[in-house]
């Protein structure tokens, strides 16, 4: 399932594999940083995800810790923003096939919120 691919890419800090989980014109929103008075992230498009996380993974700006996949759309984890940790839920809102459970499903919209 694409949720597992997403988690694996996050844990491996593999920006290319992460981007490959998404459709070309996807959306990735992260509302957790504002909890600690930082800018939230709003990424539009697969290439933007690849570039953004290339930067964050290289400079230690983001890590997924202790992920627990609860269903084909949701993962419960600790988001580590360069040492500041927020309990978070990543929710796949939409996939290209509507199911998110097929081998070739791709994420159209994913939102990370405080848990």
């Amino acid at each position: 399932m694409v949720i597992n691919d997403f988690v694996t890419a996050m844990q491996n800090k593999d920006h290319e594999a992460l981007a490959a989980c998404f459709t070309e014109e996807c959306r990735f929103f992260d509302y957790c940083p504002s909890v600690v008075k930082r800018e939230n992230s709003f990424l539009f498009g697969r290439n933007a995800i690849e570039m953004f996380f290339h930067n964050k993974f290289t400079f230690g700006g983001y890590a997924m810790r202790d992920p627990r996949v609860t269903n084909e759309r949701t993962v419960n984890f600790y988001a580590d923003y360069n040492g500041t940790i927020i309990h978070a839920l990543a929710q796949i809102e939409n996939c290209n096939d509507g199911a998110c459970s097929l081998d070739d499903s791709l994420i159209q919209e994913l939102v990370i919120r405080p848990a």
């Binding site: 800018e39 939230n40 992230s41 709003f42 990424l43 290439n47 933007a48 570039m51 953004f52 290339h54 930067n55 993974f57 290289t58 400079f59």
Partner: protein, 259 residues
Amino acid sequence: MGIYVITGASSGIGAKTAEILRERGHEVVNIDLKDGDIEANLATKEGRAGALAELHERYPEGIDAMICNAGVSGGKVPISLIISLNYFGATEMARGVFDLLEKKGGSCVVTSSNSIAQGAARMDVAGMLNNQADEDRIVELVKDVDPAVGHVYYASTKYALARWVRRMSPDWGSRGVRLNAIAPGNVRTAMTSNMLPEQRAAMEAIPVPTHFGEEPLMDPEEIANAMAFVASPEASGLNGVVLFVDGGTDALLNSEKVY
């Protein structure tokens, strides 16, 4: 045609800017340590004074633009050089030709860096530069700092330079002289061709969106074109602007900062 003075134009972005301006028919004066029309060490007070005296002697009727581009990146050079050249070498040269710019209603452009938005700058250092601006005391303070942390001081001087532009531009603009900053992204230069593998990996992790999937470094001409425009009368509406010329890197990493 105008008289454009540019510092650090013997290579890189400065050389390309000078080339573009000359192609447009302007008289260009390059102030640089080597191979300059005026050779001066802008990291020293004596060097700056000599260059300013030469400019006043050559152009008593004024100049159209001053482009303060000379600078040095961190990593190998003494921190004091970064402080003296990047900040004081720009602000003191700009101040020193204000009277010449005022005579012709000219403009001043300084070269900052898009690294100012990436969190590397030390705000205490930037604060000292902007608020205290005592070169001798600040240089004395950093004289024993390890050059290995030079990138932090580089970002600090470039942040202070951009803030200096923001602070000074209202007054300068009211007196007929526009003052702006260009904040380039990662640019291909002689220095970047000799990077260590880990330096190159770090550089590539600051992606330039317009170069996605291609050569990760920007061409100096991409910056120079913007610099020539901002310095020109066609940019008469621009004052106090810090213009990111980085192919979208700042937008990628800081999309929520719209002002």
